[in-house]
């Protein structure tokens, strides 16, 4: 039973279509990540879901009830804005207490709640100050506190980590997971960062130009991307996506790449449906490519390449390879990468089972 169900949501501003038929299904108690680059419709989706914007089409259901035309108040969804949107003239205490005003709570109960939230978010020592004097991380925690204090059932987080520095971002990720576990609330989290989505989301929805292109667990998205967009978005460094052509016979298809022709992956059966000569995109993750010594008994597909660039990242090194016209990346542990420097030639091998093939025209995965 889904808790938040969005179907065919459309929202445009004059000529610009911000959300274009969005479908979203979030289970109760789930931590759902909405992954998409800037201007892919994340913020507009959130604003429409919580009622600030009116949708042009589509429905929004909350806990089984149609809430498409309900007011913001009636929906009662809590949201943390990307800009935090703290009230600059109220103290941090008053900011936190603000959502409780309308609930006609006892002054004492309000104090207890503030104490709880301040404790949870380590804000106790800042309560009497104005938000303007708080650091970026504190401001962000105030914004979260303000959303949590009325114990919402659904919390929308709009790029809550974007305005934080790297260290704080890391700590806050853990914080969110803890809050989610302890409070058991349903959280939908928008982010342009695939790492954030992969580490935090129990499920991830990938958004592109206002549409959901794939929903799945982090593993599903990583192992079996539905299209080249998701393949390029999820995983770091990015999956190598190379232009390829369908070759071989009608029944035994193969894929022609600048450095060779291969057949035999999981995609082989499905590829038979495409005519010979069809333009394809071939995908292989940088982690799946490894150097093959001349003496080894590796019998999989290989490619000859030249090291073009190296990017050391501490314990791993990314090697930029040139193979024919194709440029691809390979990730190696540092000690193994030490053997190679720019200009070296090497033989690399990979396992066809880990490769992906997409139709060039539609971007859809063939499998």
């Amino acid at each position: 039973m889904s808790f938040l169900k969005v179907s065919g949501l459309v929202k445009h501003f004059d000529e610009v279509v911000a959300v274009d038929g969005l479908d979203l299904d979030v289970e109760k108690g789930e931590f759902f990540a909405l992954l998409g680059p800037s201007a892919s419709g994340k913020t507009t989706s959130f604003r429409t879901i919580c009622g600030i914007e009116t949708p042009d089409a589509g429905t929004i259901e909350l806990d089984g009830a149609d809430r498409t035309h309900a007011t913001v108040r009636e929906r009662g969804i809590a949201m943390v804005f990307q800009t935090f949107a703290l009230y600059p003239h109220l103290t941090i205490r008053e900011n936190l207490a603000f959502p409780l005003r309308e609930q006609r709570m006892d002054r004492k109960d309000i104090e207890i709640r503030i104490g709880e939230v301040a404790e949870l978010l380590k804000l106790t020592h800042t309560l009497e100050r104005k938000p303007g004097t708080a650091s970026g991380g504190e401001q962000q925690r105030i914004a979260i506190g303000r959303a949590l204090i009325r114990r919402p059932e659904l919390l929308l987080l709009d790029e809550p980590l974007t305005n934080l520095d790297a260290k704080l971002r890391h700590d806050t990720r853990a914080e969110f997971k803890r809050i989610h576990r302890e409070r058991g609330i349903t959280i939908v989290f928008a982010t342009p960062d695939e790492l954030e989505a992969l580490t935090m989301g129990q499920r991830i929805g990938v958004l592109r130009e206002g549409r959901m292109v794939q929903v799945g667990t982090p593993d599903e998205l990583y192992e079996a991307p539905d299209n080249d967009y998701v393949a390029g978005m999820v995983g770091s460094p990015q999956m190598n996506l190379l232009a390829a052509t369908r070759k071989g016979s009608d029944t035994v298809p193969s894929v022609a790449l600048p450095f060779g022709e291969f057949g035999g992956g999981a995609w082989q059966g499905a590829l038979a449906r495409f005519p010979v000569g069809e333009a394809l995109t071939f995908g292989i993750r940088p982690h799946e490519i490894m150097p093959v010594a001349a003496s080894s008994d590796f019998d999989g597909p290989t490619l000859e390449a030249e090291v073009h660039l190296t990017e050391p990242l501490g314990d791993v090194v990314i090697l930029d390879l040139l193979a024919g016209d194709a440029r691809l990346k390979m990730v190696l542990p540092e000690e193994q990468a030490m053997a190679y420097s720019v200009g070296d030639r090497l033989t690399c091998g990979f396992d066809l089972a880990t490769t992906h093939v997409f139709a060039k025209e539609t971007g859809t995965a063939i499998r």
Binding site: C50, V72, Y87, P88, H89, E94, F98, E102
Partner: protein
């Protein structure tokens, strides 16, 4: 020959040269008369007589401050100031709330609403005097079409005060509106949205989000209009000339009468300096709040 103009326009003295006429004018027209009248307030002197001034010390200050008529005029002024400023604040605030929203022809209507502010006091005074005129004025005409009788608004004390207050508020409400509007449009939209998500009522939203942004500007509008209305002369003089009786004679009109109808030059100078002192105090208060606002921003 030919040396003088280039000499004059030498960059070293060009700047000084260009401001000299303005300074001379300011000195002759403002500073000298100011000093002179300040001096006269300590002497027995009548501008209409040939007798030379005689030193009087603080005699006229004492006389003015113990004169019950002066206090009556101060009261009249206070009545006009409080009623007029209150009306301007309420109407200006309402207009600002109205114009903070977007609607068709907003810019054009805004321009029209601002025009009274740009007219001269004399023109506005004459308009309203004609509007209030009992036999052919538009106010009386409208009143007659309902009640069948003519209306002489300016014939009673409170009617005359209302007449002045209406004219002054008509002219200066747009000024209050302009200030408040500047505050209203500086409120970021996302704060309203956050307040909506936090399920605040419209009143709470106004209190917590809107009001803090316009509070300082409201105070400035209040002070500025108080100072200006305190000095109000033209409108009163043209519309009622202080009447009926002396019931709308503001302190500024009283000073004028004292100086140019009764030629009590020393006494009117002394009273003027007392007024100036009040205005300086108010102005400093105003500047204090302007500075504080700048520091906060």
């Amino acid at each position: 020959m030919g040396g003088f103009l280039p000499w004059l326009m030498d960059p070293k003295r060009r700047g000084a040269m260009l401001v000299t006429p303005a300074i001379v004018l300011l000195f002759v027209m403002n500073i000298f008369p100011l000093m002179w009248s300040f001096g006269l307030s300590f002497f027995h002197y009548k501008a209409s007589s040939v007798k030379p001034p005689r030193f009087a010390g603080l005699y006229y200050y004492e006389k003015v401050l113990s004169d019950p008529v002066v206090w009556e005029r101060f009261q009249t002024t206070a009545t006009i100031v409080s009623l007029s400023v209150l009306t301007q604040m309420v109407i200006g605030f309402g207009l600002a709330l109205l114009f903070a929203k977007k609607f068709p022809l907003r810019r054009e209507i805004l321009m029209l609403v601002l025009t009274p502010m740009m007219l001269s006091f004399v023109a506005v005074g004459v308009f309203f005097k004609l509007f209030y005129e009992p036999t052919f004025g538009v106010v009386s005409y409208l009143y007659r079409s309902i009640s069948g009788e003519a209306m002489a608004l300016l014939a009673t004390k409170w009617g005359a005060i209302a007449g002045i207050v209406i004219a002054d508020a008509w002219m200066w409400s747009p000024f209050v509106m302009l200030l408040v509007l500047a505050g209203l449009v500086s409120v970021p939209d996302y704060l309203y949205e956050a307040a909506e998500v936090d399920r605040a009522t419209p009143w709470e939203r106004f209190k917590a989000v809107t009001f803090p942004y316009i509070k300082g500007l409201l105070l400035l509008a209040l002070l500025f209009r108080t100072i200006e209305t305190f000095k109000l002369f033209d409108l009163v003089y043209i519309i009622t000339a202080g009447g009926p009786g002396a019931s709308t004679e503001s302190i500024a009109v009283y000073v004028y009468r004292m100086a140019f109808q009764f030629f009590k030059t020393s006494q009117s100078s002394a009273l003027s300096y007392i007024l100036l002192f009040v205005v300086i105090v108010l102005t400093n208060l105003y500047l204090y709040f302007v500075n504080r606002r700048e520091r906060e921003a």
